[in-house]
């Protein structure tokens, strides 16, 4: 405590204005994460004076970000504390999820409330072709109130500095697409800012904010579609690497004598646990998430081919997870996308492999879970991304 005070004095203590901005942000973040929270809880959570909380809340209320109301009957003695609620209806962001087989666009209010949602199958080809339908949806959904911007989750690698998207090899090759800039140019008056990030990273962000990983600072979110990516949170921060491309665990080589991968390498993890492999092993002719569900369904009904396929994929899934657990020592591994169903159908294999490969110390406390937000994770994460700026400086 003394040390930090001294350092502040040397570097120049933060100004009154900076402290206030910091506190406003922290308060709004709490309200945003909980949806609603009483003033008494805010006082104890933020460790601020009661009158300070009152003043901060008044500022945010005046800006139209939150509202205060009397709580319903609490059944306890004493004057009940006012409940601070996010103005979800009037402060919102657009969340876009560009997936392998579909595009989803949603309007999400402050506090993480899903206000409106639309989807269409994804047109074949590059990301540029997705801009038109996204623009149309956003225009259709435009509502009253204030839009803070848009967040986009893409199934591709995203360069941090400018939001340039490198598509995965399955989706038309390594084309660079500045999707955020294109969208912003189309709708300059509707969207004050557009941010873009990888879908696994955003799912991890969503689960961290208001899902199964809330309060958990070391976890891995595995997102599976055609490929496999991971959103890794270590020490409370997302690990995205130097250029923003980190977390491509699907291209970790697990089988040096394995099948060739779309990336040019051989025996990548994706080639053992990806959608294509499962469907091929199960002799399914369909493709996509529905086909994966169908294979899992066949396996649970006793189809031997499907059962063997699910078991084999489960073994490889456990193999890779065990390696990740050894490296990152997470307390939670979440299986999302199509991996949710694959994991639940092969949990015995995954756990067994993990227990026989991972170190006793790292595997002891690791919990394997499915996402609490289900398939909405990508959209909620994209909205979180769009809300970041507002939460950092609410009155800007």
């Amino acid at each position: 405590m003394t040390v930090s005070t001294n350092r502040n004095m040397r570097a120049g203590a933060p100004s009154q204005e900076e402290i206030r901005r910091q506190n406003l942000g922290a308060l709004l973040r709490f309200v945003h994460e909980r949806g609603q929270i009483s003033r008494a809880e805010l006082t104890s959570e933020l460790g601020l004076n009661r009158s300070t909380i009152g003043a901060l809340t008044a500022d945010l209320t005046e800006a139209g970000l939150v509202t205060e109301e009397a709580p319903r009957e609490t059944g306890r003695a004493g004057r009940p504390s006012l409940v601070v609620r996010a103005m979800s209806e009037s402060i919102y962001a657009y969340a876009v999820s560009v997936e392998v087989d579909q595009i989803r666009v949603a309007r999400i209010g402050l506090g993480g409330v899903l206000l409106d949602q639309r989807s269409i199958p994804r047109p074949r080809g590059s990301i540029a072709g997705t801009i038109d339908p996204i623009t149309t949806f956003i225009k259709q959904m435009a509502g009253e109130g204030r839009c803070v911007g848009a967040g986009i989750a893409v199934c591709g690698m995203v360069r941090r500095e400018d939001g340039m998207v490198h598509l995965s090899p399955y989706l038309g090759g390594a084309v660079d697409e500045p999707i955020a800039d294109s969208l912003r140019e189309r709708l300059p008056e509707l969207l004050p800012q557009v941010a873009v990030a990888n879908v696994a990273d955003l799912c991890a962000l969503a689960e961290h904010t208001r899902g199964v990983a809330a309060g958990c600072d070391n976890f891995i979110y595995m997102y599976g579609d055609v490929g496999v990516g991971a959103g890794i949170v270590a020490g409370g921060h997302r690990v995205t690497g130097h250029g923003g491309y980190g977390g491509e665990v699907g291209h970790m080589v697990v089988n040096p004598v394995g099948r060739p991968c779309g990336c040019g390498s051989k025996g990548c993890w994706e080639t053992e646990i990806g959608e294509h492999t499962l469907l091929k092993l199960a002799q399914s002719t369909d493709i996509g998430a529905q086909a994966v569900l169908a294979v899992v369904d066949r396996a649970s009904r006793g189809d031997h081919i499907a059962q063997a396929a699910v078991r084999q994929v489960g073994d490889w899934l456990g193999f890779g997870v065990a390696n990740l657990v050894n490296i990152f020592n997470p307390e939670l591994v979440i299986f999302g996308g199509t991996l949710r169903d694959v994991y639940l159908a092969s949990a015995a294999q995954v756990r067994s492999k993990l227990n026989s490969i991972a170190l006793a110390a790292t595997r002891e406390h690791v919990r394997l879970r499915t996402p609490a937000l289900g398939s909405d994770g990508a959209l909620i994460g994209a909205a979180e991304l769009a809300f970041q700026q507002l939460l950092n400086d609410p009155l800007a």
Partner: protein
């Protein structure tokens, strides 16, 4: 939701030396078992190993011949399902025991209806039912006034589990909750079972499906011909070892 060290925590339910015979057949021999709050304990065993009998002894349906039962460290004697319920023990049976002609709220409060004066307190019951379903993050049931006959298998299972949770229960025992469910519904029920434990309840899951066991359990208790042959942490065993325990009562890799 926070993770607690299970070693630091006394078990919620502890059984010691349980014996039970039906006539000349001894079904349970000197069974010991512990169940901790915040954890899912999977109870596995072959058909006829005594899983259901053990659960029914805990639930007060069958009297035990001998043995001790402790809840939070103090000895208790359960003589009827009502007494078990008072101790916070609820059992969800395979056949669910829901009434088709009643709606969700009526089912959840069946036999224990809330009243205000002479009449049923419908708004309060409805609100409580809704709150319970919300606390379990149940998104599949749209209205609590839906008749149970219109629900799918997975939704019925959800209602049956919610009914067990409604009564501030501390221990929920689920007998084969995913048998006869489709894939999507099985996944939902498994997530629900996990949510119960993450909310701090002690959960016992009886299942034959190794995937279900490994997907949600923290500990596995294996019964073999009426004897508890092993109680192990799920992080310490493999699928093959558990199957071995179920079918032969011992496992080479695992010292029971």
């Amino acid at each position: 939701m926070s993770w607690k060290d299970p070693l630091m925590q006394a078990p919620f339910l502890e059984l010691r030396g349980i014996n039970k015979s039906f006539g000349a057949v001894q079904v349970l021999r000197d069974v010991a078992m512990s169940v901790r709050a915040g954890e899912v304990t999977a109870l596995v065993g072959d058909n006829g190993a005594g899983k259901s009998t053990l659960v029914k002894c805990v639930g007060g349906i069958h009297p035990m011949d001998s043995g001790e039962m402790f809840i939070n460290g103090s000895e208790v004697h359960v003589h009827s399902p009502r007494e078990a319920a008072q101790l916070g023990i609820e059992i969800v049976y395979q056949d669910l025991a829901l009434c088709d002609n009643l709606d969700i709220v009526q089912n959840m409060f069946l036999g224990r209806e809330r009243t205000s004066g002479w009449v049923l307190n419908e708004p309060e019951m409805e609100q409580l039912a809704r709150k319970t379903l919300d606390s379990l993050a149940v998104r599949t049931v749209s209205t609590v006034r839906q008749p149970v006959s219109s629900l799918s298998g997975g939704q019925r299972q959800t209602v049956a589990i919610a009914k067990a949770v409604l009564w501030n229960s501390k221990l929920v025992i689920l007998d084969e909750p995913t048998a006869a469910l489709g894939v999507a519904q099985t996944a939902q029920v498994l997530e629900l079972v996990r949510a119960l434990a993450d909310n701090g309840l002690a959960v016992v899951l009886i299942s034959h499906n190794m995937n279900d066991v490994f997907a949600v359990s923290d500990r596995i208790a294996a019964l073999y011909l009426g004897q508890m042959v092993a109680q192990v942490k799920t992080t310490d065993v493999t699928h093959a070892q558990v199957v071995e325990l179920i079918t032969s009562g011992k496992s080479e890799g695992q010292q029971a």
